[in-house]
Structures are given as C-alpha cells and as structure tokens.
C-alpha cells in the first residue's frame, strides 16, 4: 500500500500544473514543498520595506529551505567560479513565478535543432511541432495576453486566450528609435490578465511584477496549487525532500523529507515527479547516492547537474533626449523578438531585447538612488523636484537575454562541506561564459548603443562583460535527450534509469534559446501528464 499514486516534489508552476491535472483526473497526489506558504499582503509590505529591492526581497528566506539572493551571490550558493552564477530562485508554495516577470514566450523552431541547423550545442529530442499543441494548452491553462496576429517566429494553431497588453508610451518611443534598423519592437506575450479571467483581475499597472504583483493579475504558481488542492491533492509545505529511495526493480519507491524542526518523514508512491527547479533537482538526485544508484539517482549518463545555463543579460541604460515616462505599467510590455534566430547562430547566440518600463531601477536602484544622488549635489526645494522629474522621466533600460551553450563543466553538485540549517549540502557551482555568449553580449551592446543614439540619449552606460546579469533562468541540469548515454530524461520527461521518475522544469532543457522559459516549462509539464498517467496504469 502506497501513500499516494503520485508524489510531486515542488509546488512551483510545473509541479502545480502536473498536480492539478492529475488530481482533476482522480489521481491521488501528494505535493511536497520545501518552503512555506506565502501571504501576498505580507509580501507587498516586505517589498515596500526592503532596502535593496531585488527579486527575492519580498519573501521569507527560511533557514530550513534557504534560497539564493541576487544581492549576495555567495549566500546559499557555494560559487567556485570563474564566474559567479547570477540567477536565483525561490523555495515556497507557488515557486519562483511569485517574482517572475510574466513574459510568456514560445521558443522558435530553430531552438530545437541548434546542432543540426547551426553546428552548436545539441538538438532537442522533440521538435517545435511536437510541442505546439502543448504551448496552446499551457497558454489557455495559465492565461496569456498577446497579439494573435504576431507569431513572433513561433507559428501558432490557436489565438491567444486574452487580448494583448497595451504597449507603453515608452515602448512606442523605443519602436520609433529602432525604425530603420533590422530590429522590430513587438508587444510581448504575457501571463498577465488584460481582462478579468479565472477569477483574477486585469493588470492595473502596479509596476512591481518583480518581486510581487499585489493583485495577482500576473499569473503565479499558487493559481494551480489552489486548483490542485481543490481537486483533492494534498499539499505538504515545509517538507524538504532530501533522499529518493531506489527499489530492486529500479523504480523509485519513496521520498524522504525533513521538517523545519529536523524531524524526518517518508512517503511512498507509484510515481514520482521532481519539480523543484534546476538547482534543487540535481542536488537531490546527487544527494541520493545509494547501492542501487552509486553515481546518484537517474545519473548513469553522468549529466545530472551538468550543462548549467542561464540567459546572460547585457544591461545597458541611458537618459533619452525626450521624456519616455517610465515607472508606469507592467515592468516590460514589449521587446525585440526577430533577433532570436538566423544563420549567424553558428557564430553568435540567439538574443532578445527586453525593453524595461522600470527606468533605471534594475541597474542603479532608481528612483531611490536618484534621490540620494541629486540631494548629494545640494539640490533642494523646487530645483530638487524638477531634477527628479527630469531625470526619472528620461530613464531607459534595455536587457538583452543571450543564449548560453550547454557545457558539461558548468555544473552544480551538493557541497558536503557547506551545509544549511537542516544539515543538507548547499549547491556548489562551477560556471563560466564562453566566447559564443560573450560575442552575444558584445553584439547587444552595439544594438543598444545604436538605439540610444537614435533616441538622442545621454549618460549612456553599458555593463561590461564582467557585469553580466542573471536572467533568473536556471536551465539544463537534468537534460532531456534521445538516449541514456547523453541525457537524464527522455522526451516524455521520464528518467532513463527509473521508469516511474519524471523530471519537470527548465532543468530538462537541452539548450535554452533566448526566450524566457516559463511557457516552455508549462507546456512540457502538461505534455508529460499523459506519460505519468500511463505509468500509473501500467
């Protein structure tokens, strides 16, 4: 007798979607989440009160389930270099979608065939056509606002379920700035309500999507956690899974977990779904070394924890000649997408330009830092007021996401010498950028510079290579592929080594393109449900 049909580890967007689909089909599901439930009101207040308003600032950082911090990349992460891995994630009910931007792009067809088309990286074991129906399913399930007349290089068989989010005034000025260049500014598909949908309100432009949407107009994983629970799934928060037991037949038989007080528990099931994001999944698999899995669970390929990728970001900012009125609307509503594929991918990476509506808040901490800097110049009274208005109204920021190739040396492993409050190993990371990605950062700087100049900008600043930013996209550490020699899971996300173990999320991406990954995570999760159910039937 088992405790559940399916145990899902992780209550983020992938785990919640799988759990809700399975529970709705009558499957008995237990979801184990390492972190706590989060109260939205508390998160908003914590954001207001935070001195450094990084993506994690709105949330508790539990000692029993710590998460990395953008403002201290050595907190929790054990970084061995040469570069510091700069992307983070949350461990709480709802997962990292609490502070994601909401951008919900599909990959483009070429992203699935990087090796065969451009001689770089590896191909996916599925092509765009295999995932397209699931993209539609995920867009409908989550709720995406977009312009159905613009496929952005990703052919679609169904329209977006909601009308597009309007471009900001700033977007339209940037579009005019790019006029005459190869780069087209288009509205971004977003998991953000443009109309009332799924009992959630439309966006009212709080302009705080990162770190928290105060009204949940932006989708987050708690939407499907609630649906899963309503359908009968049992959620166990504050349950940190630390070991998977492998049975004699190679199937996973149980997950062991720890509670905040250090006490231990164990759950058994017919199938197990790991949906704990791309750092904690490989850490768990490698922590679960045992006689039946001497190299770690699901790791005969030796690829678990390897091929760690991000979308390293070139951040550039300037003061435009005329006001563009930032700090209004969602944090990003448009971007350049026609830069995501071309024959040049043999030599430099796919990239997309995210246009920020948030002034210089990302690179400098504006507008708070603007106030401090202007006051330090001795400005007072009306002069100070006018200076704040003039400066902030002209702040423009581009963030270009670049593709990073899989490199087995970029790796996360459990650090047995550095442990958290529960005594569990922290993630030890080796990470570097290669020439391919660096070429993308350099190319982005030139594109940014051209647009800034066209907008008669001053105070133009481009972050140097050493100042690359993380996109918040942790990818590749349990990749999917065609065989157990080179990959961890198959195209159905089933571990080659264990027929009842499934791995969700961006950990399975063989390559990352340059699109924000959450829609692809959601589509793959929904696609995997059929295989999970067949496993139960067998």
């Amino acid at each position: 007798m088992v405790d559940a049909d399916v145990v899902v580890v992780g209550a983020g967007v992938a785990g919640a979607l799988v759990a809700s689909r399975l529970a709705a089909a009558g499957v008995k599901v237990i979801v184990l989440e390492a972190g706590p439930r989060v109260d939205r009101g508390h998160a908003v207040i914590q954001f207001y009160d935070a001195l450094v308003k990084v993506p994690e600032c709105a949330y508790p950082n539990a000692a029993y389930a710590p998460h990395p911090r953008s403002d201290d990349l050595d907190f929790y992460y054990v970084q061995t270099g040469p570069e510091k891995f700069a992307s983070t994630y949350l461990r709480q009910v709802g997962g990292t979608t609490w502070h994601f931007l909401g951008t919900f792009l599909r990959l483009v067809p070429d992203d699935f065939r990087l090796a065969s088309r451009f001689g770089r990286g590896v191909d996916w074991p599925i092509d765009y056509g295999a995932l397209e129906p699931w993209y539609c399913d995920a867009e409908s399930e989550v709720g995406v606002a977009g312009d159905s007349a613009e496929d952005l290089g990703s052919p679609r068989s169904k329209p977006f379920p909601m009308p597009q989010i309007a471009m900001t005034y700033l977007d339209r000025q940037v579009a005019a700035g790019f006029a005459g260049t190869p780069y087209e500014v288009r509205t971004t598909p977003q998991a953000r309500n443009s109309v009332v949908r799924d009992n959630r309100p439309p966006c009212c432009g709080n302009s705080s999507c990162i770190p928290v949407c105060p009204i949940q107009a932006k989708y987050d994983g708690t939407v499907h956690v609630a649906k899963a629970e309503a359908a009968g799934a049992k959620l166990m928060a504050q349950s940190v899974v630390n070991f998977l037991e492998v049975g004699a037949d190679g199937r996973i038989v149980a997950a062991r977990y720890k509670r905040p007080d250090g006490s231990a528990g164990r759950v058994t099931a017919k199938a197990f779904v790991l949906a704990a994001h791309a750092m904690e999944i490989p850490k768990l698999l490698l922590m679960s070394k045992q006689a039946r899995a001497p190299n770690g669970v699901a790791n005969t390929s030796d690829q678990v924890g390897r091929n760690l990728m991000d979308h390293p970001i070139q951040l550039s900012y300037a003061l435009t000649g005329a006001p563009v009125w930032p700090y209004r609307g969602p944090l990003s509503t448009s971007g350049v997408e026609n830069s995501r594929s071309g024959d040049w991918r043999a030599t430099r990476p796919s990239f997309r330009i995210e246009i920020g509506n948030d002034g210089w808040s990302w690179p400098t901490g504006a507008p708070s830092d603007d106030a401090e800097a202007l006051a330090a110049q001795g400005l007072r009274g009306k002069a100070m007021q006018q200076a704040m208005l003039d400066r902030t109204s002209r702040e423009l920021r581009f963030g270009t996401l670049t593709e990073q190739l899989p490199d087995p040396a970029n790796r996360i492993v459990p650090d047995d010498t550095k442990r958290d409050a529960l005594g569990l190993p922290r993630p030890r990371i080796a990470y570097k950028l290669d020439e391919y990605t660096l070429a993308g950062l350099a190319f982005a700087r030139r594109v940014h510079e051209d647009a800034f100049v066209r907008m008669k900008s001053t105070h133009i600043h481009h972050n140097a290579d050493s100042e690359f930013q993380g996109a918040g996209h942790v990818l590749g550490t349990a990749r999917m592929g065609r065989d157990s020699k080179s990959a961890v899971v198959d195209a159905d996300l089933r571990a080659f080594d264990h027929p009842n173990l499934f791995i969700e999320g961006s950990a399975v991406f063989p390559t990352g393109g340059s699109a924000n990954p959450t829609l692809t995570i959601a589509a793959l999760a929904l696609r995997s449900v059929d295989a999970i159910r067949k496993t139960l039937a067998a």
Binding site: T168, Y169, C204, P214, R328, E372, Q377, L389
Partner: protein, 152 residues
C-alpha cells in the same frame, strides 16, 4: 546590481555626518521639536509639511544623538536666512552635508546612520511626489492600459 553604488553613497554620507557632529554640538545643544523638524524638512524639500506620523518616523530615524545639535542649528539657520542666501550660509556653517542628507532621506525614504540604512518611508517618500507622472511602484496606477498614453 545596485549594492556597490548604494553602499558607497550611504557610507560616504554617514562618514561626513559623523564628522560634523562634534562641531555641531559645540554650536548649540538645543533639542529640536517635531514641529521644528517638520518645518525644517518642508523648507529644504520644497513640499508642505508631512503629516505627523511621517514626521515622527523620519525624526526618530534621522535625528540621532549625533545629529540632534546640528539639526537644531540647521533649523535656526534655515528659519532665519533668506532663500537666496541659504546655500552660502549652510556652507559657511558646514551644515550643507546634513541638509543634503535630510533632503535625501525625505526623497528616497531611506535614512542612513553610519553604515546602516533603513527604509523609513516608502509610499510617502517624496521622490514619488516629484515624479508627478506616476505613483509608487507596488501601488495600482489606474485602469488597464493607462500606460499606453503619455501622462496628462
């Protein structure tokens, strides 16, 4: 991200304010009332006096023992000096840095004491008042799509 610049700025302002304290103490030992602090703040920021709650929060955070005497002198100088002469008067009395720090605190909502900074005001920070075209981040801005047009 922003930490290095912010930390540097805050550290610098803390060092300078700390260095001023002995001089200021020598000038006066008169304690500032909340009403005087409110008036001083209004004169320097160019905005009407904040409500008593905001003034109280700011004063508790900013008017540390090390700053109190300088603040009292600053209030006296600001109250008795014509605006056109104020900059010169503050520099002559070496009160310009603490005045700048007070303006920075009201606009940013952040008070720095030595190496420690804290958010004292968020939505009431005057930067949002100066940014007349918008509202604080994390506060609803209007109907969906209001951002498509330039501010009226």
């Amino acid at each position: 991200m922003t930490v290095d610049r912010r930390t540097l700025l805050q550290a610098l302002s803390g060092v300078v304010a700390g260095a001023l304290a002995p001089l200021a103490l020598a000038q006066t030992s008169t304690a500032l009332t909340a009403a005087q602090f409110g008036k001083l703040s209004a004169a320097l920021t160019g905005y009407p006096e904040a409500d008593a709650d905001a003034v109280g929060k700011m004063m508790r955070a900013f008017a540390t023992p090390a700053r109190r005497a300088s603040l009292a002198t600053l209030a006296q100088v600001v109250a008795t000096t014509p605006p056109s002469d104020l900059d010169a008067a503050l520099k002559a009395r070496k009160l310009d840095v603490i005045a700048n720090d007070l303006v920075a605190a009201w606009y940013s909502g952040v008070v720095t004491n030595g190496s420690k900074s804290q958010v004292v005001l968020y939505a009431d920070a005057l930067m949002w008042s100066a940014m007349t075209y918008t509202k604080p981040m994390g506060v609803c801005g209007g109907v969906t799509g209001y951002w498509a047009d330039p501010p009226s």
